[in-house]
Amino acid sequence: MAELDTSSGGGKKGGKVRTKKQATKVDLTAMVDLAFLLITFFMLTTSLSKPAAMEVAKPDKDAKDENRLELRESQTMTILLGKNDKIAWYMGQPSATNAPTIEGFGDIEASLLKNKKDVKDKTGRDIVIIIKPTDGSTYKNFVDIMDEIAITKTNISAPAVDDDPNHLLDGEKEFMRSNGIL
């Protein structure tokens, strides 16, 4: 959009020599274009550079407090994070009749929702989730499962994270090993 020259060319008919009037207008279009481009850039980068953070709370390690609550078997879901992005989960206690289910991260959302509903219908209580990341799992698996739980709003409070390898039950170890995910 260049400026159109609308001034009539000064004729030479008059006797007086007139100094030609210079237009004081400068075409600012390109400058404005550039300024807005930069504004857009800075706006986008400032809001995106702040990292999102996921809060994790863990119980105190050497709590002397014996006043701990026992979890009811009927309302507990244990999630084991295994190798190769696999999850094994079970309700209550693991046994021969109550073998853990192995799932990928795509299906766990449906299971979480189903178990949440089942526990609520059966016992009238909210589900409690225990997450046990094993040595074979990656950091991504852990973040993913925390995220899934947050998305499905399965836990009212934070899920219990038990990452001590000594806390893995023998039954759990055996099952995971036999399925090649430990």
Binding site: K25, A35, F42, A52, V56, K58, P133, D135, V143
Partner: protein
């Protein structure tokens, strides 16, 4: 018969005001923008749907990737105070120049012993030197990461009077045991609440 002439109007618009406004905004955004520090460690954080943003100050970020642990203390004054305290507890003397260099350092991963040598180098040399082996994180209770965190917390408390936020920024492929080690260091000094840094993904 005379032709009806269409009056010619100028097509140019006065851009001055628009230009003023846009440059004002531009200045504002440039000044408020915080320059992104280059990360010495290539980290691809896993994504999640959390919306909570990390605060601007009072944060210590422990980066974990490729089995190495790096530390980033946010805030120049806190960094400086932390180095003073670390120097005192490890019996090292730092010069004013070294304090200055340290306070503008992005995430670092050098053992305290080679910190002096590391600070004397400039950017590209630091990359090449191979000194960035990560902060020692052995199984003893008083390892270097533990002390860095402890001193950073004290320094932060003195300067801002608020509790320090500890955050883990891990690479998605990191094996869980490495993360567990870092979490153990946190818990050894009763940081039971910490954050995991994730990149955001659209909520489902």
């Amino acid at each position: 018969m005379a032709k009806a002439k269409v009056k010619r109007t100028s097509t140019s618009i006065d851009m001055t005001a628009m230009c003023d406004v846009s440059f004002l905004l531009l200045t504002f955004f440039i000044l408020t923008a915080t320059a992104r520090q280059p990360d010495p460690l290539e980290i691809a954080t896993p994504s999640s749907t959390v919306q909570y943003k990390l605060p601007d100050k009072g944060v210590v970020i422990v980066s974990v990737g490729k089995g190495k642990v790096f530390l980033d203390i946010v805030g120049q004054d806190v960094k400086r105070a932390t180095l003073q305290k670390m120097g005192a507890s490890y019996g090292l003397q730092f010069t004013e120049e070294e304090y200055k260099r340290f306070s503008v350092l992005p995430a670092f991963g050098v053992p305290v012993g080679s910190l002096k040598q590391f600070l004397a180098m400039d950017g590209p040399q630091r990359e090449k030197s191979g000194l960035q082996t990560g902060i020692p994180l052995d199984s003893t209770k008083n390892n270097e990461l533990f002390n860095w965190l402890k001193e950073a917390r004290t320094a932060n408390g003195e300067i801002y009077g608020i509790d320090l936020n500890a955050a883990i920024k891990g690479d998605g492929k990191t094996e869980y045991p490495v993360i567990r080690k870092v979490v153990e260091v946190f818990q050894n000094q009763k940081i039971n609440k910490f954050s995991l840094i994730t990149s955001s993904e659209g909520s489902k």
